[in-house]
C-alpha cells in the first residue's frame, strides 16, 4: 500500500502540474459554456436556459473527456520513461495501471466538482442542495472514464492512438447525446440515435435531479457506472502487459 500511495501521489502531482490538462478541464469548459450559451440563447426560452443547459452538458462531456487525462497520465512520452522505472521495482503490475486510473479520477473529479461550485455563483442552476447528489453521481462516471482511457492505452499501446480513438468516440457520443445541441427536435431517427448515447442518459439524469428533484435516477447511475468502471478496470488487468511499455 505504501508503494501504491507513492505512485498515486506522483501521478496526481504530475496531473496537477500539467497546465494543459488543468486549463482544458476548467477555463476551456467555462469558455465553451459561455460561447455556446450565448450563441444559442435564443433557442432555449422556457424552463432551462442555454447557459444552464450547456453547463450540465459540458460538465458531462468533460467527465467523459477525462479518459484523455488517463491516457496522458499513463503513456505520455515524458511520463512513460519514468513510469518504466516503476515496472523495474518490486511494486508489481497492479499499482502501475491502477494508480493512473485513481490519479486521473481524483484529478478530473476535483476539477469538475470545483467547476460546479464556480457555476453556482454564476447563476447556473445545479439543483440547490441536490448538488450533493450530482457530485455523488459524477464520481463513478469519472472513474469509469479514467479506466476507459487506461484500457485504450493497454489495447493500443500508444497514447496518441488511444487518445485519437477515444476523442472520436467521446465526440460522437457527445454529439448524439446533445452536448453541443439537442437532437430531440430533429426528427425521430436522430432522437432515437440520441438515446443510444450515454451522454444523453447522463444529461437526462442530471436534469431530472436538478429540475424535478427526481432522485430515483441516482441509484441506476451509480450502479451502472460503478459496474462499467469495475469492468473496464478488469479489462486493464487482463490487457496490461509490461512489454507494451518498452
Amino acid at each position: 500500500m505504501y508503494r501504491f500511495w507513492q505512485i498515486f501521489k506522483m501521478d496526481l502531482g504530475n496531473n496537477f502540474k500539467n497546465p494543459i490538462l488543468i486549463n482544458y478541464n476548467t477555463v476551456f469548459a467555462i469558455a465553451m459554456i459561455l460561447i455556446m450559451g450565448y450563441l444559442s440563447s435564443g433557442n432555449y426560452t422556457n424552463g432551462i436556459d442555454s447557459y444552464n443547459y450547456y453547463a450540465v452538458a459540458f460538465l458531462i462531456f468533460g467527465m467523459l473527456e477525462g479518459a484523455m487525462t488517463a491516457t496522458n497520465c499513463f503513456m505520455e512520452r515524458d511520463i512513460k520513461k519514468p513510469n518504466l522505472r516503476i515496472l523495474y521495482s518490486p511494486c508489481g503490475r497492479f499499482p502501475v495501471y491502477f494508480s493512473k486510473i485513481a490519479a486521473s479520477f481524483v484529478f478530473d473529479y476535483v476539477l469538475h466538482a470545483a467547476l460546479c461550485f464556480v457555476f453556482v455563483p454564476m447563476g447556473i442552476n445545479l439543483g440547490g442542495w441536490n448538488l450533493g447528489w450530482l457530485l455523488l453521481m459524477m464520481a463513478p462516471v469519472e472513474f469509469a472514464s479514467a479506466a476507459l482511457g487506461v484500457l485504450f492505452c493497454c489495447i493500443f499501446h500508444c497514447e496518441e492512438t488511444a487518445s485519437s480513438i477515444l476523442s472520436l468516440f467521446v465526440s460522437i457520443f457527445a454529439f448524439l447525446g446533445g452536448a453541443f445541441f439537442s437532437l430531440d427536435g430533429m426528427g425521430a431517427a436522430l432522437a432515437f440515435a440520441s438515446r443510444l448515447s450515454p451522454v444523453k442518459w447522463l444529461i437526462d439524469a442530471f436534469f431530472a435531479v436538478i429540475y424535478d428533484g427526481n432522485l430515483s435516477v441516482v441509484a441506476p447511475v451509480l450502479l451502472i457506472s460503478t459496474a462499467v468502471g469495475a469492468l473496464l478496470t478488469f479489462g486493464c488487468a487482463k490487457t496490461f502487459r509490461t512489454e507494451d511499455y518498452l
Partner: protein, 312 residues
C-alpha cells in the same frame, strides 16, 4: 566465485525472427560482467527479460539459486536498474526523483533520507539536489539516472548502455562510479557497444551477436586467444599490386586479403617471416609505402569473431 544470476538456454523470438538463440551465462557475485555487442545483437532483449519486463520463449533464470518466476518481487527488490533512456521526471528536482524511486523499494523515514543523501553524493549531485532535472546537462542526468538505481543498495545493478550520448568527462565519472560500486560489494551487469568502456571496467566479458554468445571470458583471456596471431597491414605505392596467392607460400601465413594496394596478412606468432613477405613484394615489382603490425585488442577480438566491426 559464487553465481548470483544464472541464465540457461534463454530464447526469444519476435514473430519469425530469432532474437536470442538459447544463450546461457552467469553473473558471479561481485564482478562487473560486460555484455558486449553491436546494435541489434540481443543485449537489450536479454536485459529486459532479466528484468522481468519481457516474456521469454524458453530458458531458466535463477537468482541465488532460486528461479526468479516464483520469487519475482524479492528478486526485483535486489536489482537496481539503469535504463538506456533517461527514466526521470524532468519537472521534479533531483532529490524528489531519487526519493520517489527509492521509496518504491520500500524505504521510508530516516532510512530513505539517508539512502537518498548517499546516492546523490555518490553521483556528485548533492549540491544540485533541489534543482529541476530539466536544468541538468546530459551527463548530470545520466548520473542521476544511476543514483536513482542504486540508492536502495541493490545486490545486482543492471546497466543498459548508461553512457550513450554524453561527454567524455561525464563518461569517466560514470565509469569510475561503477568501479566504486564494485568495491562496495555490488555486482554489475553492464551492456555496451563501446570497447574502451569494456577494456576499462570489465571483470569478465560476454560477446553477443545475432542472439548468440560468441565468446566469453576475461579481456586478457579473449585477447590471449588471438595472441597466437599477428597482423600486418601493408600499403603499396600507387599503381602497385601483388596477388594474394603468393603469400601463402611463406611459412606461417594463414590468411591474406589484398585489395586496392592494401594487403592484410594474418600470420602465426613466433614465425619470423616479415623479410620473406617484403622480398615477395619487391620481387613482384611493387614498392611498399608503409607497413604496420597490430597488437590484439578487444576490437580485433570482435572483428575476428564476427567478421565485422563493433559499430557496423
Amino acid at each position: 566465485m559464487e553465481n548470483l544470476l544464472e541464465v540457461q538456454q534463454l530464447s526469444k523470438n519476435f514473430k519469425e525472427n530469432c532474437v536470442l538463440d538459447h544463450i546461457s551465462f552467469h553473473v558471479g557475485k561481485g564482478e562487473i560482467l560486460c555484455l558486449l555487442g553491436p546494435n541489434g545483437a540481443g543485449k537489450s532483449t536479454t536485459i529486459n527479460i532479466l528484468l522481468g519486463l519481457l516474456r521469454r520463449d524458453g530458458g531458466i533464470i535463477s537468482y541465488n539459486g532460486k528461479k526468479i518466476d516464483r520469487n519475482l518481487r524479492s528478486y526485483k527488490q535486489k536489482l537496481g536498474v539503469v535504463p538506456q533512456d533517461l527514466a526521470l521526471y524532468e519537472e521534479l528536482s533531483a532529490e524528489r526523483n531519487a526519493r520517489f524511486f527509492t521509496a518504491l523499494y520500500g524505504l521510508r523515514g530516516a532510512k530513505l533520507d539517508a539512502a537518498v543523501e548517499e546516492a546523490l553524493t555518490f553521483a556528485g549531485l548533492a549540491d544540485r539536489r533541489n534543482d529541476k532535472v530539466k536544468t541538468f546537462s546530459g551527463g548530470m542526468k545520466r548520473r542521476l539516472n544511476i543514483a536513482c538505481a542504486i540508492a536502495h543498495h541493490p545486490e545486482l545493478v543492471v546497466m543498459d548502455e548508461p553512457t550513450v550520448g554524453i561527454d567524455p568527462q561525464s563518461r569517466n565519472h560514470i565509469l569510475t562510479s561503477i568501479k566504486k560500486l564494485q568495491q562496495n560489494g555490488m555486482t554489475v551487469l553492464y551492456t555496451t557497444h563501446y570497447m574502451e568502456e569494456v577494456e576499462e571496467i570489465s571483470s569478465r566479458i560476454i560477446i553477443i551477436d545475432h542472439g548468440r554468445i560468441i565468446a566469453e571470458g576475461t579481456k586478457e583471456k579473449l585477447k590471449e586467444d588471438i595472441q597466437s596471431e599477428k597482423r600486418y597491414h601493408i600499403e603499396l605505392e600507387e599503381g602497385c599490386s601483388v596477388p594474394a596467392e603468393g603469400f601463402y607460400a611463406v611459412e606461417g601465413v594463414r590468411e591474406v586479403k589484398s585489395a586496392g594496394g592494401h594487403i592484410d596478412i594474418v600470420s602465426v606468432r613466433g614465425v619470423e617471416n616479415l623479410d620473406r613477405i617484403i622480398s615477395l613484394i619487391s620481387d613482384g615489382g611493387a614498392h611498399i609505402r608503409n607497413i604496420s603490425s597490430e597488437e590484439a585488442s578487444l576490437e580485433t577480438v570482435f572483428l575476428k569473431l564476427t567478421g565485422r566491426k563493433l559499430r557496423d
